[in-house]
């Protein structure tokens, strides 16, 4: 069997605040296979974001090891990590994190700027991704001219544009209403069906159930890891309660 896309062993992250040591994450060992769709749940402060930042190579673990696609990333330099983020990972954040002074198209082009893609191809691919997320008409709009759902779609297009094998989303529906959330999850399921691995943090069970597997965190530990029994498939949702 191929090596897992993600493998972590005894992963931990401590923060030092003056004399106090805050353990945000400790002793996490798990694997995520390519093509999986993992929902991460747990109460606030349980370490979900900390975990996502570590597997997203945005932060460094204080203990344990992490292999991304078979490569030990624990000891890579900041620039090597940047390269990994650029080519292998796409991020979607709760607060969208778009550049406010750049248009939708320019925001989507950003990862390609750092991948050395020539301008003409950059435009073409950014356009393609925006069309894929249903924003073909909004390319020249600035983030402030877009709704929350549209901004999150721009973020998804940006995450997709370098064709990474995996997308990490930390509470992507946190700022969206139910309908828009369902649309976004439908988009994620479609991406997962096309072979992209997804890891998604959420507080809502109804969102987590779009995934195939649920990880539960508590006090910095992973306390449960279960397949989703009653998976929601996009388009089959019950109508929103009146």
């Amino acid at each position: 069997m191929a090596s897992p896309l993600i493998r972590v062993e005894d992963l931990g992250r401590d923060y030092r605040l003056g004399d106090v040591n805050v353990t945000a994450l400790t002793g996490v060992s798990l694997e995520i296979q390519a093509g999986d769709f993992v929902s991460v749940m747990g109460p606030s402060g349980s370490g979900k974001s900390t975990f996502m930042n570590l597997i997203g190579c945005l932060d460094r673990a204080t203990t344990g090891r992490y292999w991304l696609n078979g490569e030990d990333v624990t000891r890579l330099s900041p620039d090597q990590l940047a390269g990994l983020r650029n080519r292998h990972l796409g991020f979607v954040f709760q607060n969208f994190n778009l550049l406010p002074r750049a248009t939708a198209l320019e925001n989507v082009e950003l990862p390609m700027l750092y991948a050395g893609v020539p301008p003409a191809e950059r435009h073409r691919r950014a356009r393609e991704q925006l069309e894929r997320v249903g924003l073909g008409e909004r390319m020249a709009h600035y983030p402030r001219q877009l709704s929350g759902g549209q901004q999150q779609r721009v973020a998804v297009a940006r995450a997709l544009v370098n064709r990474p094998p995996m997308i990490l989303a930390d509470e992507p529906t946190g700022a969206l209403d139910t309908r828009t959330s369902q649309e976004l999850m439908a988009l994620f399921q479609a991406l997962n069906d096309s072979g992209i691995t997804l890891v998604l943090v959420t507080h809502e069970h109804d969102i987590a159930r779009y995934g195939k597997r649920i990880l539960t965190f508590r006090d910095g530990r992973r306390v449960a890891d279960q397949p989703v029994a009653d998976r929601i498939l996009a388009g089959t949702e019950p109508a929103a309660a009146p």
Partner: protein, 410 residues
């Protein structure tokens, strides 16, 4: 990230804060303007001085009948005619390295040609004067020993005199009345332009010194053949200091002046005048250089300050860029580019201001101003250096942020 993208993004963020960018560049603008003005004034003065040296004749000293003490009262230069044509001959003979020691009488008077008249400087000279004062003949001939011996009524005229009295047409062969005495013009002098004081050096008439005595310049036909000045031209490479001492020693001996007594003549080394002028322009240049360097320093610190503010303000933007794959170098270059563009913009505005200011100053103070292309290149180079130097620390601070911390920044 390629150069064009870097430029595009840097210009974009500078444009987002137009007023702030302009104010930040102000220090550089003033600094560069001061540098440009300083160099323009300095170079203008330097060129004027070297031209002046040429027109004065380098290696030249002037011996003037000097202060003599009469009953304890010191009288000014020329108060008594103590120099003679024989003194000039003695200097020529006995001081080593003398190219020409030329005695001259000097006065002014009215010139008349046809129905035009003009007041001008009149010099009674010997042929050596032409060598000593670097006069060249443009048309006709110079004065010779024969003219001197016969006290011929022949004259050489300067360009200005020719223009004023003959309207620019060839004056040689024409008659010129000098203080009512008719002279024949035998030569036209090549132009020398202006002296330091703005005096027109071409406004002259040169006649044989023997002719000048008596009626023309009102000198008594004394046995001593007194002269108004002696121009001493030294050979190239001669030590002017030493020559001055030798001339002085010789004349004191000839005039029988006791040790401890004041000389009855004095010697002016013309390059001293030039040096004084040079020193004045150096002082001004130094002042401007001080303004320039302080201003550039303050400008640089201003850029650093604003870049630090900008890095803090844009922490989240930095986080986003890092998250999607920007390397430290990409962030570093992005912020450095902004600092450099800011200072280059300052340099361009400063150059415009400096060139304009230099010309205005030149116009108002009647100075010679030369803006050299090199000084413009230098300013641009300097400004880019300041941008890099003062932009480095903020840019590095941005580049070294942790992606996670940057993204979480509120």
């Amino acid at each position: 990230m390629n150069t064009l993208d870097t430029l595009h993004s840097a210009l974009g963020s500078l444009r987002a804060n137009k007023l702030r960018s302009a104010l930040t560049a102000l220090g550089i603008i003033i600094g560069v303007a001061a540098v440009i003005t300083m160099l323009a004034v300095g170079e203008g003065a330097r060129e004027r001085v070297s031209e002046q040296l040429k027109s004065l004749g380098s290696n030249l000293m002037l011996v003037l009948p000097g202060t003599i003490t009469s009953s304890g009262v010191r009288l000014g230069s020329g108060s008594r005619n103590t120099l003679t044509q024989n003194d000039a001959a003695a200097i020529q003979e006995e001081v080593a390295g003398v190219l020409a020691a030329a005695p001259a009488l000097r006065g002014s008077g009215q010139l008349v040609a046809g129905n035009l008249n003009w007041a001008s400087q009149i010099y009674g000279i010997t042929p050596e004067y032409m060598i000593a004062r670097d006069w060249r003949i443009l048309r006709g001939r110079g004065l010779d020993e024969n003219d001197l011996r016969t006290a011929a009524k022949v004259a050489l005229v300067g360009q200005t005199v020719a223009d004023m009295l003959y309207g620019g047409s060839d004056p040689t062969g024409q008659t010129l009345r000098v203080k009512h005495v008719p002279f024949t013009i035998v030569g036209l002098l090549a132009s020398k332009g202006q002296s330091f004081g703005g005096q027109d050096l071409d406004d002259v008439v040169l006649i044989p010194i023997s002719t000048a005595r008596g009626r023309i310049l009102g000198q008594a036909q004394g046995r001593l053949q007194t002269v108004g000045q002696i121009s001493v031209k030294m050979r190239d490479g001669a030590d002017m200091q030493q020559a001055e001492e030798q001339v002085s020693a010789l004349l004191r001996q000839r005039h029988r002046i006791q040790p401890g007594q004041d000389s009855d003549f004095f010697i002016r080394n013309l390059s001293e005048v030039v040096e004084a002028e040079q020193a004045a322009s150096r002082t001004l240049s130094g002042l401007l250089a001080a303004v320039a360097s302080v201003s550039l320093l303050v400008g640089g610190i201003g850029i650093m300050n604003i870049m630090l503010v900008s890095v803090t303000e844009r922490t989240r933007e930095i986080g986003i860029r890092l998250a999607v794959g920007a390397r430290q170098r990409d962030i570093l270059i992005q912020f450095l580019a902004e600092a450099v563009i800011l200072s280059l913009f300052g340099a361009l505005a400063g150059i415009a201001l400096g060139v304009g200011g230099a010309h205005l100053l030149g116009h108002l103070a009647d100075w010679n101003i030369i803006v050299q292309p090199l000084s413009i290149g230098l300013s641009v180079f300097f400004a880019a250096g300041i941008g890099i130097f003062f932009g480095w620390y903020p840019a590095r601070k941005a580049a070294r942020m942790s992606p996670m911390d940057a993204l979480r920044y509120e």
